[in-house]
Every structure is written in C-alpha cells, then in structure tokens.
C-alpha cells in the first residue's frame, strides 16, 4: 500500500533560491503565530502598563512635584508630560526584549526549535532576522498603544509628537537586537534573567533621566545614561512630544547612537546564531 498519492519529490517542489531570499519572513511568520498564542496577554500589558504608570507616578507623584516646582514645572512642562516619553521608550524596550530574548533561549535551549529550522534551507541569518522582525512587530504595537494612551492623557503638546513612536521603536529595536545577540551566546540561562532584570534593566530605568533630567545626577553616574538606549530615546521623545530644548549636535548623537547599537546588535546576532547552529 502506498502512503502518498503522487510523490513529486523535493527536487521538483523545493526552491532553495526562494528560501534564501525570503527565509527571514518565513521565520517571522512562525514567530508571529507563536506570539498570537499570547495575544490577550500582550494586549493587556499594552493597555495596563501605560494606564497604571501614568496614573500612579505621572498624576499621583506628579501633582506633588508640580506643586513644588511652581510655574516653571519640570523642564518647563508638567511632570506627567516630562515623564511620559521616557515611559514610552521603556515600554517599547520591554516589548522588544520579550520577543527577542525569550524566543532565542527557547530556540537554542528549551525546545531547540532553531536547530529544526536550521535543518531546512534556512540559515542562521534568516533565523536571527526573523526573530528580530517579529520583535519589531511587538515593539511597534506596544509603542503605538502607549502613544494613544499618552494622547488620552493630554501630554502630547507638539504637532510632531507622533514621531516619538519611531524614536521609541528605535530604542526597542536597538536594545532588543543587542540582547538577542547576548541571549544567543548563553549556554545556561538560570542567572541570566536575574542579571538582566536587576543589573541592567532596573539601573537603566532608574539612571537614564527617566524620572528627572540626567543632569540632576552626580557626574560620575551620568555615564549610565550615556550608554543607555533608553536615555537617548527619552531625549528624542521629549524633544518631539513637547519641544524640550536640545542642540542639533545632540539630536544627531542620539540618532546615530541608537542606530549604531541596532546595526551592531543585528550583525552580532546573525554571526552568533550562525556559529552556534554550525557547532
């Protein structure tokens, strides 16, 4: 008894050139399907995160700060307006990390799905880019949602405020790509999350000029902001949402810094993924 109706054979049906050109999109498609399994959680986080933060810290703590700051405000605006662009960038980064770090650990270690992908015409480059593209989808979604909530809170003063979505996404993409590469190097993930959460994300969140201008920090702590994608995106976000003062040079510095990290992160991810799969 034959099990298959008509066997054409892979030589007739598989086109390796097509996979070489579009492989990253096939990986994105698979990652996206996996992500959809958590769609309600993702939507809940995207709503709850901005609403809770903007109310509790922005409004709650903000009213206290605004009273003391008087008419000058913080950086010339209300505390909520000052804080919101930083939280927007933070949310974008968190969204990016969720979809780049966890899938990378899963793919190399937990389920070894990257090895099954690599047994097809797909290569390490396709897999690295596919994971990145999907994390970009999540990042864009998160940033747009956050931005809409900011709009509802009335903290978007500038007509070009919508561009802050892009700078937040840029920060998410840059940080996500970098951490994806790092996750790809990891043989043992047990201490990884502790290190990332407590020694990287938390300090960056606290020391990147998120809650007060970076210049309020002692000079010997300001470097944390300088190496943090969050600070660079926050500065751009403040300029875009309420027109905080910034020099043209610094605009370029922020922009170039974020994109350099992004390019480096992607390059490193591709290399690290390819190497690890070929061991």
């Amino acid at each position: 008894m034959s099990s298959f109706q008509v066997r054409q054979g892979s030589l007739n049906i598989v086109d390796a050139t097509k996979v070489a050109a579009r492989g990253a999109l096939f990986v994105t498609e698979a990652r996206f399907r996996s992500m959809l399994k958590w769609v309600w959680l993702i939507i809940s986080i995207a709503i709850a995160n901005p609403v809770l933060y903007l109310i509790s810290i922005g409004l709650g703590l903000g009213s206290y700060i605004d009273q003391n700051a008087g008419s000058a405000g913080v950086d010339g605006v209300s505390y909520l307006t000052f804080l919101a662009p930083a939280l927007l960038a933070t949310a974008a980064i968190q969204g990016a990390l969720d979809e780049s770090v966890y899938p990378t650990l899963e793919g190399f270690k937990w389920n070894k799905t990257f090895f099954s992908m690599n047994a097809t015409p797909l290569s390490g480059n396709h897999i690295a880019m596919g994971v990145f593209f999907n994390s970009l989808i999540r990042t864009v979604f998160t940033a747009i949602f956050y931005w809409l909530v900011m709009l509802a809170f009335g903290v978007l003063e500038s007509p070009r405020a919508w561009l802050a979505i892009f700078t937040a996404v840029m920060a998410g993409a840059a940080f996500g790509a970098l951490m994806q590469a790092l996750a790809g190097l990891l043989e043992n993930e047990n201490v990884f999350f502790t290190i990332i959460d407590r020694f990287i994300i938390m300090p960056l969140f606290l020391f990147s000029g998120t809650f007060y201008p970076l210049t309020n920090m002692p000079i010997f702590l300001q470097w944390i902001g300088w190496i943090s994608p969050l600070w660079h995106a926050t500065e751009l976000g403040r300029w875009l949402t309420y027109g905080s003062e910034i020099s043209t040079t610094m605009l370029f510095v922020h922009f170039i810094f974020l994109n350099s990290i992004l390019i480096f992160g992607l390059f490193a991810s591709r290399r690290i993924f390819t190497r690890r799969l070929g061991k």
């Binding site: 066997r7 892979s10 598989v14 399907r33 389920n111």
Partner: protein, 308 residues
C-alpha cells in the same frame, strides 16, 4: 547525477582533541535504507549532522546529492528530511501549525501545504489530534509528528537519528510500519540506531560503528553470516559461577562470550549444543537457544554489548 546520493571518504570530525568521527568511508545509493549501528557515543549523531549539512567536517570528502555541504548547505538541506534524536517541535503551536510552518521553511506555498498536511496527518495517524497543542501529545505521537514534519517537503533523503529511542514496544512497531511504507515508496532512508532489532527490521545495508570508526559493513544477514554463527545458546549459572563455567564450556563450541549475567555459546545448532552441555554434566539454571543477531556481530567486533 551519480548513483550514490551520499558519498563519504575519510570523513572526520574533531572537537578539539577529541575525534568524534574518525575517517569513515561509505556510500548510500538511491532508494536504499542505510543504517549506522553503534552504541551511544560511537559518532553516529555527529556523522548525521555532517550529512545533514549543518556541521562542517574537519577533513575528508563528503558529497550529498553531488554537492559539497561546506559550499552548498542550504541547497542540500532543501532536499533532506531530518528527524533529530530529540524532538524539537514547536510546543506552543498545534500539530497542524507545526507541519505548516515547517513547510513554509522550505518555501512551499499555502495551497500545496493544505493538501500535504492532510496526507501527513493520515500517515502519522494524528487526524484526531490536528488541533491539539504539541505539549499534550504522547511520546510516540510526538515522534510520528516529527517524522511527518520531515516529510512535508517530499525529501530525497530521510535521515532518522535514533527514531524509536524512548518509545514503548507498541509505539515502536507503529513507527517501523510507517517507515517501512516510506521505503516501499522509494524514499532513501538513513537511520542511526543502537537497537539491533531496529537495524534488522529497517536497513538493507548498514555499517557498524564504534569509537568514531567503521568496524564492518554489509546487509544484516551478511554481517551475521560473516561475524557470527547461525545460532546462539545462552546459559546462566548465576553471576558467581559464570566465569568459572565459561572455561569449562569453551571446548564445546566455536566461540564463547562471557557477559556479567550469562554466557553466550556460538554454534550452528543450538539444541544439539545444549544436549552436549547436559551430557558433560553441566546444569545451567536457565538456557535459551536463539538465532544470531547484530548484537552478536557487535559483540564479536568490539567485545562489548550495544546497550550498556
């Protein structure tokens, strides 16, 4: 294209100082079912990863479908179906989704995959589980799904690394039946196993591997003929007396192998030998006459059993 789909000469893989595969030679021709038999750590999986065009060789020649995997990895992998030793299904996704995304990795279009998935679900007897999450499947079902997944692209060569390890006897027999059908359909199979019965069931031809090298090559029947006798008499005297008895029994047959729990006596006629054992006044606690198997071939070649 030449007759031989896989061609290896002096194929070697080293990890630092350790030589995992040590200069092996073999050819696999179209439509045959070829096995790598050996214990864990013999270098079978490493050889499979080189043939699977994911791990590069240290030295030697290797062509798959007439291409060098060092230069044409993706082009070769486009025509292979790989079943790894450890299932690496996407556990977040359903049975159908796993087949679908894997087909997409080969660039296959949705319309083709729709029909193909139905065929594969029937082949793997997973029609009723089509929407189940992979997490909820039994070990045997996961294994069948991994095999079905490897067939989604109608590969020229299906590579199975220890296909039935960890499965219960019933699940193994279902799987063997599925693989046998593929063989009948003309799919070239490359199988590694440390189960001699599996090798005997599925392989037209095989190589026996140990410590990275090939010890012997041939069909299962030929190997048994060359390296063993027709029958084997297994006797047990209890673990303390076995080694003492082995010396006394040695003169009664062609060859003897002493294992911790039993003595194997190689002969053309097991019943006749057992009679002679009794006549000499030896009384084993238990005795069993059986045909020689690949296990005996391996024991002869290496002095060790396949499963430690």
């Amino acid at each position: 294209m030449s007759q031989s789909l896989i061609h290896a000469r002096g194929l070697t893989k080293k990890f630092g100082d350790f030589t995992a595969v040590n200069g092996i030679d073999f050819d696999v021709v179209k439509g045959e079912s070829f096995g790598l038999l050996g214990p864990n750590g013999a270098g079978k999986s490493t050889a499979m990863r080189m043939i699977g065009a994911t791990s590069q060789r240290t030295s030697g020649e290797l062509t798959i479908l007439d291409k060098d995997p060092e230069k044409f990895g993706p082009q070769i992998r486009a025509h292979l179906g790989v079943v790894p030793q450890q299932d690496n299904l996407d556990t977040q996704l359903s049975v159908t989704e796993n087949l679908y995304i894997y087909g997409r990795y080969f660039g296959l279009n949705r319309k083709f995959l729709k029909g193909k998935i139905e065929e594969l679900l029937a082949f793997a007897q997973l029609e009723e589980k089509r929407n189940a999450k992979v997490e909820s499947l039994s070990g045997g079902m996961k294994r069948r799904l991994t095999i079905a997944r490897a067939l989604v692209s109608e590969p020229e060569i299906l590579m199975l690394d220890e296909p039935t390890t960890g499965l219960d006897p019933q699940a193994r027999h279902i799987l063997w039946d599925r693989l046998f059908r593929l063989k009948e359909d003309g799919v070239t199979l490359l199988i590694t196993t440390h189960f001699m019965d599996e090798a005997e069931q599925l392989c037209d031809r095989l190589v026996v591997m140990d410590k990275g090298s090939i010890m012997a090559e041939g069909s299962p029947a030929q190997l048994i003929k060359d390296y063993s006798t027709k029958e084997v008499l297994e006797v047990r005297f209890g673990s303390e007396r076995n080694s003492q008895m082995a010396n006394d029994l040695r003169q009664l047959c062609e060859r003897i192998e002493e294992l911790p729990d039993r003595i194997l006596m190689y002969t053309e006629d097991g019943e006749e030998l057992l009679e002679r054992v009794y006549k000499k006044g030896f009384h084993p606690k238990t005795s069993l006459v059986r045909r020689s198997s690949l296990e005996d071939v391996f024991l002869r070649l290496t002095g060790r059993t396949l499963v430690d």
